[in-house]
């Protein structure tokens, strides 16, 4: 029996955080080239392709990108769950590889949102005169909510229910910035303090500017295959030990509980598949669109009890040198956020597990979790990756 355990063998990032010479499809293309070069596989060996689109590129739906990149697939998936799409893709690709639906899978993402639209897209508010909105948005659009406002309402409720403070949320941004200082490409590298976060202007109470992710260009690609095929490739394989996703809502007004995400549903499934517990994890790469996003994922996945995220982050676990370093590439809060950052989480987790993270390397890194949050805390995907064959 060939060993069909699914593994990540190649990763590539396109130029970031700002690449004015690249449009969206060029980010996809460049990331693919780099991921193939990373593992040493030929493009012709790819027989599965996954793309969420969403980079604001006119042609980046899965079938059009497959044509553009020249992927002759026998398995394709265009699942789009916002920023968490790529964690869902790894789940789907792992299942397809195990089932023999395909052998070698490519996942790509690319966005030129900073160069194309600039920082003015910022808070993501709707407006522009009396434009009309259909579907569920008709019940939200008239009220001038913003993207930040949706997360702010979750943060406000978390503070109300559990006594979480702005200082505790700020701690997350401070720790991630420390890692950004080790990443020469990160958008912001100067160290910041809790006071800096609290002193930055409020965007939507209680979230300050430094509670919010950056806006950047960027893209990524991942090549997955079987453990069998990985044996004679360039990089040590990274094993997909568990992968699960779940959804609680899409539009923020339908969020059933503003302090609980689908992480509390998909987390136990992913950990169960991997046969490990949160206490076994060496590093976490979490979606950090906002500081509150990280706190809700920590609680939802069981790294601390519900409501205790504030105390947990203040204990320094997530910092460099802590026992659960967070976002060792500088994260979305300081390094890059091209719109849907989930693929960066997987790529950084793989880099850590290969022992290739340089100054940011977590010692003895055997197990990592990449957890994406898509939409407005809507769709959560958790992937547990490991260095050892399960």
């Amino acid at each position: 029996m060939p060993d069909r355990a699914p593994v990540i063998v190649g990763t590539g990032l396109s130029d970031y955080p700002q690449a004015p010479d690249l449009d969206g499809v060029q980010h996809h293309s460049q990331a693919m080239q780099r991921a193939l070069a990373d593992c040493g596989l030929a493009k012709g060996e790819i027989d599965g392709y996954l793309d969420a689109g969403g980079g604001g590129v006119m042609i980046d739906d899965a079938v059009t990108m497959a044509e553009y990149l020249g992927i002759d697939h026998r398995y394709i998936d265009g699942t789009m769950t916002g920023g968490s799409s790529f964690e869902f893709h790894v789940q789907h690709a792992a299942a397809a590889i195990r089932q023999g639906l395909c052998d070698t899978v490519l996942i790509t993402y690319g966005s030129d949102q900073l160069s194309r639209m600039g920082r003015s897209l910022g808070t993501g508010g709707l407006g522009r005169g009396a434009k009309r909105f259909a579907g569920p948005q008709q019940y939200e659009a008239p009220f001038g909510n913003s993207l930040v406002g949706s997360y702010a309402m979750a943060a406000q409720r978390h503070m109300y229910e559990f006594g979480t403070t702005s200082e505790q949320l700020a701690e997350i941004a401070v720790g991630v910035r420390e890692f950004a200082g080790l990443n020469p490409k990160a958008m912001y590298r100067e160290p910041i303090t809790v006071d800096d976060v609290l002193g930055s202007r409020l965007i939507a109470d209680p979230l300050h500017k430094l509670d919010c992710c950056v806006i950047s260009d960027g893209g990524g690609a991942i090549v997955m295959t079987t453990a069998e095929r990985a044996r004679d490739l360039r990089q040590p394989p990274v094993y997909v030990l568990g992968a699960a996703g779940a959804q609680t809502h899409w539009n923020i007004s339908q969020m059933p509980d503003f302090t609980d995400t689908a992480a509390s549903r998909c987390g136990p499934i992913a950990f169960g598949q991997a046969g490990v517990a949160p206490a076994n994890i060496d590093t976490i790469q979490f979606y950090d669109s906002f500081t509150i996003t990280v706190m809700l994922l920590l609680e939802g996945l069981g790294f601390c009890a519900r409501g205790e995220g504030g105390a947990f982050v203040k204990d320094g676990h997530l910092r460099r040198g802590g026992d659960l370093p967070l976002n060792t590439d500088g994260g979305g809060l300081s390094s890059s956020h091209p719109g849907m950052r989930g693929i960066f989480l997987l790529i950084e987790a793989a880099r850590q597990l290969r022992g290739q993270a340089g100054e940011a390397q977590v010692p003895d890194c055997d197990l990592a979790v990449a957890c994406g949050s898509g939409g407005w805390l809507s769709c959560i995907g958790a992937v547990i990756l490991g260095r050892e064959h399960p």
Binding site: P142, V148, A152, D205
Partner: protein, 158 residues
């Protein structure tokens, strides 16, 4: 304390000046928006008693056909934020303003703006009541204000 019915409590934009995004009423939502233009707040209730908002063609719990019932128009603030940055017109001219999730006494939740008090006076648990603003002839939009005679400021109960 009775909230002052001062200038901050007039409709933010009378119908002829409505510059905010508008709903595009569809087969299901048309009765909701039309009722709101008459000052009535409707929510859906299916034969088994499941209530829901927003309106849908099916009950999201059991899949049955939902009917309509008139809501009390009373609720409490479940959570909220004060929007301090929004580059989009007309909202950028109204900063800062409150976007909140309101829990109706009927058990459904909807997004809206709290007006009729200063943004800093809004708190979680604040009792609010609906007031309809006519956006165009057949479309009313629900806004929310502190309940007259209810605890009007953060300090009262928070």
């Amino acid at each position: 304390m009775t909230p002052a019915r001062d200038e901050s409590d007039v409709p933010p934009q009378p119908v002829e000046q409505w510059e905010r995004p508008l709903p595009r009423p569809d087969n299901v939502s048309k009765p909701f928006w039309e009722a709101a233009s008459r000052g009535e707040l409707l929510i859906q209730r299916c034969p088994s008693g499941h209530r829901q908002f927003y309106p849908r063609a099916v009950c999201r719990v059991c899949g049955d056909d939902p009917g309509w019932e008139q809501a009390s128009g009373r609720g409490t603030v479940h959570t909220y934020t004060v929007i301090r940055q929004n580059h989009a017109r007309p909202f950028r001219d109204e900063l800062p303003y409150v976007v909140a999730m309101v829990d109706l006494v009927e058990g459904v939740r909807m997004m809206g703006n709290i007006t009729g008090c200063a943004p800093d006076e809004v708190y979680i648990g604040m009792p609010v009541e609906v007031r309809m603003v006519q956006a165009e002839p057949d479309v009313g939009v629900p806004f929310w204000r502190p309940v007259a005679g209810g605890p009007g400021t953060k300090g009262a109960t928070a």
